[in-house]
Symmetry: C2
Subunit: 331 residues, 2 copies
């Protein structure tokens, strides 16, 4: 690997001059510049970003911590982050935590050691205590779907409570009374908020909700298993509000397993509007979340913090009810 010194020798200039053309400073005579450029090409020289970063204190790397790429919720979000990061010459580290706080902490440690300029965390599951050293370390952080107080902290939020409330309203408007909540991770703030919105809406209408809450493992499989429990241990349900679409899809399969047809026997409503939602049978009624947009906004927020520009500390999106075929009028 050729170094800046090799280029300098070959071009018969000092290393400082080479440095100047790398960072294209205007203080270089055109002819000199060309000589240097030529030498760089001939040597297939690539400036060492490590050495540069060591002195400039910026790596142009951002960390992106998510639960699992394989969950269809994330790819678009990732793409949003990557697109704006790339436009500004940043690279992104992708980190899958499987909603495991320990893994998350390990990643945060790794990212800090690698001196990333900032971190975006989607659905962080670590406790505030564990997060605290990082929070006070001054490294810019953007949380997606988690509210955290701190100086250099941005938040891209969803109105979880309100949306859950809306879900119940919609189901009730269809005549449903026995509604179950199929929850996500108990560690997640967003699950808490959606659950509370659900409960509040039920309480406001004097509807019973206890024992209808199942929280558990994520994904289609988790949804399947939890729904089976819900179905087997509770008075006949007529509707289920699921924490996310994958859970909802698992729920649909569980209903099929118990010979209940959706939506005739039981209505199911999801959350996220992933690609699959529009393609399964029955097509899933759900709440659309602007995943790509949120990724972009989170990355922009982070970049603004890095550039010491002004920025909104918090942006809240309101998911839009997207009615398809998995819910219907009862009686």
């Amino acid at each position: 690997m050729p170094t800046i010194r090799d280029v300098a020798n070959r071009a018969r200039v000092s290393i400082k001059t080479v440095s100047r053309v790398i960072n294209d400073s205007p203080m270089v005579r055109e002819s000199t510049k060309e000589r240097v450029l030529k030498a760089m090409k001939e040597l297939d020289y690539h400036p060492n970003a490590l050495a540069r970063s060591l002195v400039t204190k910026e790596t142009r790397i951002i960390g992106l911590i998510i639960a699992d790429v394989t969950n269809p919720y994330f790819p678009e979000l990732i793409r949003g982050v990557e697109d704006v990061a790339n436009d500004s010459g940043y690279n992104v580290f992708l980190c899958n935590t499987d909603e495991n706080p320990e893994k998350e902490l390990i990643y945060i440690k790794l990212l800090r050691e690698k001196q990333v300029d900032g971190i975006i965390l989607s659905g962080s599951r670590t406790s505030c205590d564990q997060l605290n050293p990082t929070l006070t370390s001054g490294i810019p952080l953007v949380f997606i779907n988690r509210r955290v107080k701190g100086n250099k902290v941005g938040m891209v939020m969803l109105d979880n409570f309100g949306t859950a409330y809306t879900a119940v309203e919609y189901l009730v408007s269809l005549g449903h009374k026995n509604i179950g909540y199929l929850g996500g991770s108990t560690l997640g703030q967003s699950n808490m908020e959606r659950k509370n919105g659900f409960i509040q809406a039920m309480v406001d209408r004097g509807l019973p909700y206890h024992k209808l809450i199942a929280e558990g493992h994520p994904g289609k499989k988790g949804g399947y298993n939890r729904t089976l429990e819900l179905l087997d241990t509770n008075r006949p349900l007529s509707a289920i509000f699921a924490y996310d679409d994958m859970l909802a899809i698992g729920a649909i399969e569980a209903c099929r397993e118990r010979s209940l047809s959706v939506p005739e026997d039981i209505s199911i409503i999801g959350f996220d509007d992933i690609d699959l939602a529009a393609h399964i049978a029955p097509r899933l009624t759900t709440f659309s979340v602007p995943k790509y947009e949120m990724g972009r906004v989170a990355a922009n927020m982070l970049l603004n913090m890095l550039g010491k520009k002004e920025f909104e500390k918090e942006i809240v999106y309101i998911p839009k009810l997207t009615i398809r075929d998995s819910c219907c009028q009862v009686n």
Copy 2:
């Protein structure tokens, strides 16, 4: 940010001793080690990986270049890479190229500057010429689904030709004679191979294939548009073999648009077996590709190269025909 020097001062040892405990060398008295560890904790010290890498010449970062996370083919592959990388303490840079050779080249440049230890490229689209400097630079490369000769090069391949051939055989066994090929990117080697397999199989059976080949833009939309063309400009087709599942799904929509029902009027077979394939209506007959496994294998190959261990330079997977509901007997 505290440095190794701060820790040394606080623990009243030399920086070398701190360095020893960081890399946990055994040559440190237990009591000293504890003192150092304590100082590190109190300072919330994180070793600067940049400085370390500058001298050790390894970053424990690998680059992963793909077309688009948003294409359901990739998340599992990414996860496979990430899982084995992470197990060995590596981070991965995710790079989306949209099958654009220029973007790919820019990313390669960026990755080399950041001194990544190796790069995995899935479906690389750059020409050999453009790739050459990188190939000869000695940085370990693993290609997924592209054959490239080079010293430090590994390949994780699919039997594209054979699978395409099998697809035609299957369709012919169902009685089909007018079969179209719905192709992927003309820049991609894998598209070339699948097309050739398709052509060979048709020729071997004395079946006409000309004008039935459409190659174009990727994704559902590309599949939709291309299929419309295919349908409108050719003698009645009875079957389509698509380069990938997303294209196939677009094709299904195009058929619906032309009031052709699948599989009664036209059979469609895909490639990849993405999650969606089993969920759409009709459930897609396709070839299953071990995406997660391939990601793992690619990452392991790369890690072996980095560790100077022996390794298979090339592994070939044979996709498995997965029969579902999108193809049926004709006449």
